[in-house]
């Protein structure tokens, strides 16, 4: 209990982020862009590493200018997003291209980290993440961004679903709405920076997948997804803190998956 109170900002930040990332993920997964989301996550991670590299080269330590890595992560994500929009091959070739892009970015990230040993902990944080060691200020920032994303989502939900349906089911190219694009960029980028790639991608995909499998209506889908996101995060985080030596993000991923599987099996009976 004491540990939970001590880590309250991180617990609240992670829970809010999980729900907002689930909502955002619902949109991208509905558009058939699961792999693209993973590639963009890697691009964000590479941007964060480059930001720290610039700080180290300039000042000898990686925390001198905390604004550099957010800027480079946004820059890297936007550049890769534009490139992915530019190169479309259609069908299975697009899938293969996205896997190639994912592997390339991950390898590039690893090479840069290997060349500058001071970056190793930052690379590890940006990839695996640790909900417990994220800063309190970062956690509250995530709460603020998540609340804005949820408010936007609740107002534009129907229109966003219409866009996703046109794009995926009807094959009509529908551009990303500016407001949603900006909020997604902030939510996604800052979540990877504070909580790591694993937690962020987990929250984007896991609740959405199990909710889609278990729900029989749109309302049920959002209720199940939000439930899996919040409960999975709280139980995973709590278990990790109680055990003391279990990694937080991995526990959250395992708990979300276990909870989602349980909901899916119960609903299929």
């Amino acid at each position: 209990m004491e540990a939970l109170l001590l880590y309250m900002p991180n617990v609240v930040g992670a829970a809010f982020s999980a729900v907002a990332l689930f909502l955002m993920g619902s949109y991208f997964l509905s558009r058939g862009q699961t792999l693209k989301t993973m590639v963009l996550g890697q691009a964000t991670g590479l941007g964060i590493t480059l930001g720290f590299l610039i700080e180290i080269l300039g000042h000898g330590d990686a925390m001198h200018h905390a604004w550099v890595s957010p800027l480079t992560s946004i820059f890297a994500t936007v550049i890769v997003f534009a490139l992915l929009q530019r190169f479309r091959f259609g069908g299975q070739r697009t899938t293969a291209m996205l896997v190639v892009a994912f592997l390339f970015l991950l390898s590039l990230n690893y090479i840069i980290t290997a060349m500058v040993p001071q970056l190793e902990s930052h690379f590890s944080n940006a990839f695996l993440g640790d909900l417990a060691t994220a800063s309190g200020a970062g956690a509250w920032e995530m709460v603020a961004i998540s609340v804005m994303a949820m408010i936007y989502w609740s107002q534009a939900r129907s229109a966003l679903m219409g866009d996703a349906f046109r794009e995926f089911a009807l094959g009509l190219k529908t551009p990303l709405r500016d407001g949603f694009g900006l909020l997604s960029l902030a939510l996604f980028g800052e979540s990877i920076r504070h909580f790591g790639f694993l937690f962020t991608l987990g929250a984007v995909c896991i609740p959405a997948f199990f909710a889609a499998q278990a729900a029989h209506s749109r309302t049920q889908y959002f209720a199940f997804g939000a439930g899996v996101a919040v409960i999975g995060t709280l139980v995973g985080f709590g278990t990790s803190l109680a055990a003391g030596n279990l990694p937080t993000t991995s526990m959250v991923i395992v708990c979300m998956t276990a909870l989602g599987t349980g909901v899916m099996l119960l609903r299929s009976r």
Partner: protein, 191 residues
């Protein structure tokens, strides 16, 4: 209001030329039927009309409000969503029961039959106030009675001055009551 194509060239998004020298004119209250073999460029013509393949200088379109029915793609939607909710997402506020009953509107897209999906999309297109309706294969998956109801609906809209571009195979029996113009796209040749 009218639509005029003069020596229109049809290209795929990758730039492959499918047709050259396509000519037609369509005014308010008229129906243009586009026929042709598979791969002749019927859907490309529709996409060109709608500006989805870039700007076509040989096309003069004076219709302001355009409603579009794309060819039905048999894909599932990630989020379990009823036909009613999907229609609302597509911006249609009033639910018409001309083609689907109230109970059918409650069905999930992923569980609906091809005919029910087609009727939902047709409703989304025809319930929208427009001057030009562009319908790609509108009668696919429909039973004969439903085809007749669609034609009756089109006739009402036509009476109000709406024009139609229909892409279809074997429409002769269904649209016999509608005065139509026709263009035939031949494979890789002149229209």
């Amino acid at each position: 209001m009218n639509l005029r194509a003069t020596n229109l060239e049809l290209r795929t998004p990758r730039g492959e030329v499918l047709q050259q020298g396509v000519n037609f004119e369509l005014s308010s209250g008229e129906v243009l039927v586009v026929r042709g073999e598979n791969g002749a460029g019927k859907t490309t013509l529709v996409r060109t009309l709608l500006g989805m393949n870039g700007e076509a200088t040989q096309l003069d379109n004076r219709f302001e409000r355009i409603a579009y029915l794309p060819q039905l793609v048999e894909k599932e939607f990630f989020i379990p969503t009823s036909l009613r909710d999907l229609l609302e997402s597509l911006g249609v506020r009033e639910l018409s029961t001309r083609l689907l009953s109230t109970a059918q509107w409650s069905r999930l897209w992923n569980q609906a039959s091809g005919g029910e999906r087609q009727k939902a999309l047709l409703t989304a297109a025809l319930a929208r106030p427009a001057d030009l309706y562009v319908l790609d294969e509108p009668f696919n998956h429909l039973d004969p009675a439903s085809k007749i109801r669609v034609v009756e609906w089109m006739r009402e809209l036509q009476g109000d001055g709406a024009a139609f571009v229909l892409v279809a195979h074997g429409l002769e029996d269904v649209i016999s009551g509608l005065p139509t113009k026709e263009i035939l796209l031949r494979s890789r040749g002149e229209a």
